[in-house]
């Protein structure tokens, strides 16, 4: 039985498994369940030269770029989904503040296919997407080729195998068997594409809860490197069944990061001076977290695995 616990604190998980220079996959569920707590810990531990990978990350990549952790961004979209551009990302790309970064532009679909290829263990996936675009011309991981079975042009999307994927989920057991529901995005492929996998969960549950519904299990626990129990770890992004999206937080971030000095203040207040997620949640205050909580539950119909 491989039943030893993989539970670590966020601090331990990041310290042990995400060194500077790593290629890190974040934001696999798009606008939901973005692992902000993990990103903040990477900032606090002063990681440098990271390659960030993900389709979009809402404002997480912007924060990490602004904090100087990042050498390269491989993504389809970097900004603030409900408010517009990401000012830290712009400052880095346009002016090299706080440092120059390299950008490798994907579309959502080609990012999904890059992770899918790695999850399936093949060097590439074929697609018609990006034909005719400047993404194809400028991204060296997209390459035009002739279909071996038809007279067609196709794009080969090279497999991307991140050093570590960090996924926020609703619930997991201590061995890493996890239930993720609602917004799946590229989570299933992302979890299998990476060399290491850190699961951040709103709740830690008994193994029997996960095993009661093995169709919903994200990946078998033996693929999981570490499990972190971090309630509110995805705020300000939503977690279906746990809390809503804090739209105002995104709007405030937009306003408070337009100028570099303001961003530095924001960074100090919300990340550098908050040693852990508990402190961050206290900064939010009870009124705010209550407002984001679930007002009406909507439980799924059961299925029967009996015989």
């Amino acid at each position: 039985m491989t039943s030893e616990s993989k539970l670590l604190t966020m601090r331990e998980a990041i310290a042990r498994h995400v060194p500077s220079g790593s290629m890190v996959l974040l934001g696999t569920q798009l606008e939901q369940m973005i692992p902000f707590a993990a990103g903040h810990e990477l900032i606090r531990q002063g990681r440098r030269d990271l390659t960030l990978v993900g389709p979009i990350s809402d404002i997480l990549f912007d924060q990490m770029v602004g904090a100087g952790c990042v050498a390269r961004v491989m993504a389809a979209w970097v900004g603030n989904v409900s408010a517009g551009v990401g000012y830290c990302f712009r400052r880095a790309v346009e002016h090299g503040i706080p440092r120059r970064i390299e950008t490798v532009d994907y579309s959502n679909f080609t990012m999904a296919l890059a992770l899918h290829a790695a999850a399936l263990g093949v060097p590439f996936m074929p697609t018609y997407a990006t034909l005719g675009s400047d993404l194809l011309k400028k991204n060296g991981n997209l390459r035009e080729f002739s279909s071996p079975v038809s007279e067609e042009k196709l794009v080969a999307v090279r497999a991307l195998r991140p050093d570590v994927a960090i996924l926020h989920v609703q619930r997991a057991d201590a061995q890493g068997n996890a239930h993720l529901w609602g917004s799946l995005g590229v989570a299933v492929d992302g979890a299998r594409a990476a060399r290491k996998l850190i699961i951040v969960a709103e709740e830690i549950v008994e193994p029997g809860v996960i095993a009661s519904d093995p169709n919903r299990t994200l990946v078998p626990g033996f693929l999981v490197t570490a499990v972190v129990h971090e309630p509110w770890g995805a705020h300000p992004s939503p977690v279906q069944g746990y809390y809503g999206r804090d739209h105002e937080f995104f709007a405030q971030y937009h306003d408070q990061t337009r100028r570099l000095e303001d961003f530095e203040e924001w960074l100090a207040h919300w990340i550098l001076q908050a040693p852990d997620r508990r402190t961050y949640v206290n900064l939010l205050g009870a009124a705010r977290t209550e407002g984001l909580g679930v007002k009406q539950h909507a439980l799924s119909a059961a299925v029967d695995f009996g015989y």
Partner: protein
């Protein structure tokens, strides 16, 4: 899209954003599969469903498919109301697979720049002489490549409707004529309309845009003066039909504070 807002509302009874939403809604036929997007296209999709296209189906890049849209105002496609009661919450590849199979009828896109051949740029902006880094493609390039029709919405302005975009984030008709075929893009695909704050552009067989309709109270000259190339004008130029009461009432029910339709 604030330029024309408040005065328009007073004199005409609707804003130009509302006119754009109504025009966009009419690009959706009943029963069609629609890559929806957020903001104005989302409103257009809701208007279409509640008026002439009750069977239109919405697809979202995060894997969500909805036959009955959420009635709440969404800030992102991942907002919890968009998941509860969805027809399916699948993986991104599930909806992108439908798109690549050619099953998606129409996709809505925004853009920083669109050019005379309908190519879109959402990667690099220009303001004065400075280059600005914009968020990038997201799913726009995929939709522009693979949807049967693409509809673009943007503010009409010389700097945004330019002769050739600086960067093709999402391909339109490239340099015109058979360019899309030569690239290997699907036969049934490409931009079908650009809906702006001044009018609606469509595309000829040669892939070049022409002015198909002007919005009420806008002159052709005004459109041409605000377009960065010599825009062709349709022989049978029409005036864009204003939003109907039914269309407006849906928009205002969903967005009572004009959050999206300022």
């Amino acid at each position: 899209m604030a330029a024309h807002s408040e005065p328009e509302l007073a004199t005409r009874g609707y804003t130009f954003s509302e006119l754009m939403v109504a025009a966009a809604a009419r690009e959706i036929a009943d029963g069609e599969l629609v890559f929806v997007g957020m903001r104005l296209p989302m409103l257009a999709f809701l208007v279409a469903r509640r008026t002439h296209a009750p069977g239109a189906i919405g697809l979202f890049e995060n894997g969500i498919i909805r036959e009955t849209p959420s009635t709440e105002l969404l800030y992102t496609m991942g907002d919890p109301p968009n998941l509860r009661g969805a027809t399916q919450c699948g993986q991104m590849l599930d909806v992108m697979g439908l798109l690549q199979q050619g099953r998606v009828d129409v996709g809505f896109l925004g853009a920083a720049e669109v050019d005379r051949f309908g190519n879109l740029n959402t990667t690099w902006g220009r303001r004065n002489k400075e280059v600005q880094r914009l968020p990038g493609s997201g799913g726009a390039c995929d939709i522009a490549c693979l949807a049967r029709r693409t509809v673009v919405l943007l503010v009409h302005d010389r700097s945004r409707l330019c002769d050739r975009v600086g960067h093709i984030t999402s391909p339109g008709y490239g340099s015109g004529n058979s360019w899309r075929r030569a690239q290997g893009l699907p036969v049934a695909s490409g931009p079908s309309a650009v809906i702006t704050t001044l009018g609606v552009l469509r595309f000829g067989h040669d892939g070049e845009a022409f002015l198909a309709s002007v919005h009420p109270g806008i002159s052709v000259e005004e459109v041409l003066a605000n377009t960065g190339w010599t825009l062709r004008v349709a022989d049978e130029l029409i005036e864009t039909l204003p939003p109907s009461d039914a269309e407006l009432s849906v928009m205002r029910e969903i967005d009572p504070n004009h959050f999206w339709t300022r």
